[in-house]
Amino acid sequence: MLRHMLRRSLFAIPTLFGVITLSFLLMRIAPGGPFTSERPLLPTVQAAIEAKYGLNDPIYIQLINYWAGLIQGDLGPSLVKRGWTASSLIEAGLPVSLELGMWAILVSLIVGIPAGAYSALHPGSLVDRSLMSVSVVGIAVPNFVLAPVLVYIFSITFSLLPVGGWGGGSYANKILPVASLSLPLAGYLARLLRSSMIEVLAADFIRTAIAKGVSIHRILFVHALKPSLIPVASFMGPAMAGVLTGSVVIERVFAIPGIGTTFIDGAVNRDYFVVLGALVVYATLLIVLNLVVDLAYAVLDPRVQMD
């Protein structure tokens, strides 16, 4: 297990290397730059600024410099926002995005798992059928459609919740973004759990447990739930990645100052180091999340051998 974790962590290095090199090159061959504007600067001034940030060095020197900075935890300056560095911009945005993502995952688990389990226990019942219809709709409606519709209902028609903004992280501001992020996820989880649990409940070991006289709650929560969660756990990797990416759109819809907003603004303004920094953060998050999911998988499924 430890070896597996180590190997996966070592994997992170070439991945990060790829992310950085690729995006660095992409940004540099793209037209436009951080200092191009409506009113062009004097060529000498522009050259001086570029020299200040080392942008006139050969590309490979710039890449090496960037790596050297990165290893020391320095993500570089912001080329567009005065007085900000890439790290300070990311430090401002990341907690907001993480909080949003955490709540989305939590809510979808709290909603999706009981819904799926209940449906599996009462397949074909009215509750099951309505839950499954809702979940299908939840999956098919993209979050950038769901979000404005929720805003229309709850903010505009009934004036219950704020239209957007973060409001310093107040709960009222979080409800709609979290709901739009977690509804599709909850729907997917519920369907996954339902189908896997129906399969598990038909298995021999459950019949044995019933025959032994194990209490129904113990059978459900101890015997049946754990193996049923295996497909759910394997879905959580892509799911968390989806929340991460979904939050880019949701942050836009609700004007939330998260790292997705930082990333898009950075890309639009050609703020090279900010974009690279945000990508590094995203890639690291993805790698860490995949590791966590692998671990959860191994804990749930004793058949998984990790070498």
Binding site: L26, V141, V149, S195, V249, L279, A283
Partner: protein, 297 residues
């Protein structure tokens, strides 16, 4: 081709014709549910393909007297007009053309890359397979949506860039699936006998292995198209997809979201078109998967 004879292999194999096979699949998947959603999808596709010729408006035809006009048959705007006084129905149909075309094209790109990559990796096996699959593992860790966004921001906001970017990043799943299937097929007797007869590797893969993957590839395609529609629409929503005067469904949803407090229909109709299409495709994909791969039901 009811019977294929191949001189180089020295014997002939009777195969059911393609049409027989298609009808067989059709009977297998044709439940009432599938027929309903299949018909709806067909109607949407046909409407998007031919509808714009019949609505009587151009995609950018502006009617200044009818800005933000609610849906009204009598005045000739069945779904109303948008904030620039353009007929919403016409714009939705045009948007559907773009969304569907981009999704289909991107799916084909990802299919070609993925099938080739997976088949090569699985068939050659050994160290090649190991390396090629590690590359896929690594690419899985890349935050791809951000690369798509980056590409869209950096290299102009054209349809072509968007679909190449999406197609190039969506091939990972299919590569894994195809590789797994090829691995399990390549030691089957019929492949072994082809190999013993001296059929070259490329031909074995093309003639004997890939046709067996047709089902999985069809399922995958049906499930990828809606994913790409959503991805492209999300880009459009962010303002990074296709640009005016063209419009995809994502762009229309974004336009609608801006004015939803005064003119909600501008949001609801494109959103409904998008959702219904994605929903139908998902239902069809699930139905096909149940048929071709009953284990995952």
């Amino acid at each position: 081709m009811s019977a294929t004879s191949n001189a180089s292999e020295g014997f002939s194999v009777a195969r059911p014709s393609a049409w027989t096979r298609i009808m067989q699949v059709y009977r297998g998947v044709s439940t009432p549910r599938m027929r309903i959603y299949g018909t709806i999808l067909l109607a949407i596709v046909l409407a998007c393909a031919f509808g714009p010729y019949f609505t009587g408006y151009g995609i950018n035809e502006i009617h200044w007297d009818y800005v933000d006009h609610p849906p009204s048959f009598s005045e000739g705007f069945p779904l109303g007009t948008d904030s620039n006084g353009r007929d919403l129905l016409t714009r939705i149909l045009h948007g559907g053309r773009i969304s569907l075309t981009v999704a289909l094209a991107a799916t084909l790109v990802s299919l070609m890359i993925g099938v080739m990559y997976g088949a090569i990796s699985g068939y050659i096996g050994g160290i090649t397979d190991e390396v090629m699959m590690r590359v896929v593992d690594m690419l899985y860790c890349l935050p791809f949506i951000f690369f798509v966004i980056l590409l869209a921001v950096l290299f102009g906001r054209s349809v072509v860039v968007v679909f190449i970017a999406i197609g190039a990043v969506e091939w990972l799943d299919i590569a894994r699936i195809v590789r797994g299937q090829v691995l399990s097929l390549k030691h089957k007797e019929f492949v072994d006998s082809a190999r013993v007869l001296g059929v070259p590797a490329g031909k074995i893969v093309r003639r004997h292995i890939l046709p067996n993957l047709a089902g999985i590839i069809i399922v995958y395609t049906t499930l990828t198209v809606p994913r790409i529609i959503l991805l492209e629409s999300a880009l459009g929503y962010l303002g990074l997809g296709v640009q005016e005067p063209m419009a995809s469904w994502g762009v229309l949803v974004a336009d609608g979201a801006r004015v939803m407090d005064t003119a909600p229909w501008i949001l609801f109709f494109p959103a409904a078109a998008l959702t219904l299409t994605v929903f139908c495709l998902n239902v069809l994909g699930d139905g096909l998967r149940d048929y071709f791969d009953p284990k995952t039901k």
